[in-house]
Assembly symmetry: C2
DNA sequence: ATCTGCGGTTCGTCAAGACGAACGACCGGT
DNA sequence: ACCGGTCGTTCGTCTTGACGAACCGCAGAT
């Protein structure tokens, strides 16, 4: 999470406003707030109320949270085999981090390669996490430890990651894409 | 986007606080705000300033935006072939919606099957969109129309979706997972 | 039954945000 | 040059959020 929320908001507001091509006065009018207020907000000398920010997000037609999060980058490729990986000690599975939260988003994207053998048991992590898995090839037993599901190519599973869960390859060369949302 | 932000915040605050198991007084103390303030917020009779909300999100150790967004569900499977799909007129590609924004999140998850033929040209959609693609099988030319990239199994590409972009299968039976983030 | 500690709400006070008017700067038309 | 229009900032006023003390309710201990 960024350090100073008010600075972030100030920048976000100006950025979004200019993107839409509205003048400060015009935006203030549409949002139903005083332009003086908006002026102060964009110069980071203010501590807006939720309602004020909300009005602005509506007027700008952007999700509310867009105003409280920093900016972001562009194109990117990671070839199969490249990229930062994490592997278990016994190398039954390898996860490649494709896209980590930039810089304070709420999902990580992994490519998982696994071989049959001991299952990958995961302790529950941060509350509110949801994991999405799509199998590319092979077969796997995935999901909550108490009620795993067997899936094959093209199958999709989602489950809460804040309780114990598993990923166990059932065939050699099992590959899957995983999205981990942390909200 | 939900209707009444203050109601949502009120519920979020109570929900998160109880999840962590803190009393109202205790949380207020840790966040450095008056417990009366927190009390009013949880009863939706208030219009908190950003700083106040920020202090609470820090004390609760949850991302800020968690407090301004509604709640969410549990486990889910979509078998290969199932699920709502969208296809092009000439059926060169089929997209299956695996996980749509629940209810106002910021990403959609698709499974894409495509056959060689005319490329899937996409008009730029909502500004701020980023698309992530991981190829499961086959080969494809993906990315910005001006500079597409050729990718194969296991390859990953991400690109801004708010400018013209393509997805063109180069081999029969090309399958890919796509995450579309709308922020 | 009484006391003490902690849960949450209500109320009066004060500081801070939101407002609107006024201001200087800039631009295009006459 | 002058005028009307807009753009963004500054300033004084009034509304409103945040604070803290007082308050009610409920356990558990004495």
């Amino acid at each position: 999470m960024a350090g100073a929320p008010l600075e972030v908001i100030a920048h976000s507001l100006r950025r979004e406003r200019e993107r839409v091509g509205l003048s400060l006065s015009e935006l203030a009018k549409r949002a139903g707030i005083a332009k003086s207020t908006l002026s102060q907000l964009e110069s980071a000398s203010g501590n807006p109320s939720v309602e004020t920010l909300w009005a602005l997000s509506v007027a700008l037609d952007v999700p509310f949270s867009r105003l409280v999060e920093p900016a972001r980058p562009r194109v990117q490729i990671i070839r199969a085999g490249d990229g930062p990986t994490v592997a278990s000690e016994r190398a039954h599975w390898v996860a490649t981090l494709l896209a980590s939260c930039p810089p304070s988003a709420r999902r990580d994207l992994y490519l998982i390669s696994a071989e049959p053998g001991r299952a990958k048991q995961s302790e529950p992590h941060m509350p509110g996490v949801i994991e999405h898995v799509v199998v590319c090839s092979g077969r796997a037993r995935v999901g909550l430890t108490e009620e795993p599901v067997e899936v094959g190519p093209g199958d999709y599973v989602a489950y809460p990651g804040d309780v114990e869960h598993v990923f166990e390859a059932l065939e050699p060369g099992t590959v899957a894409v995983m999205v981990s949302e942390h909200w």
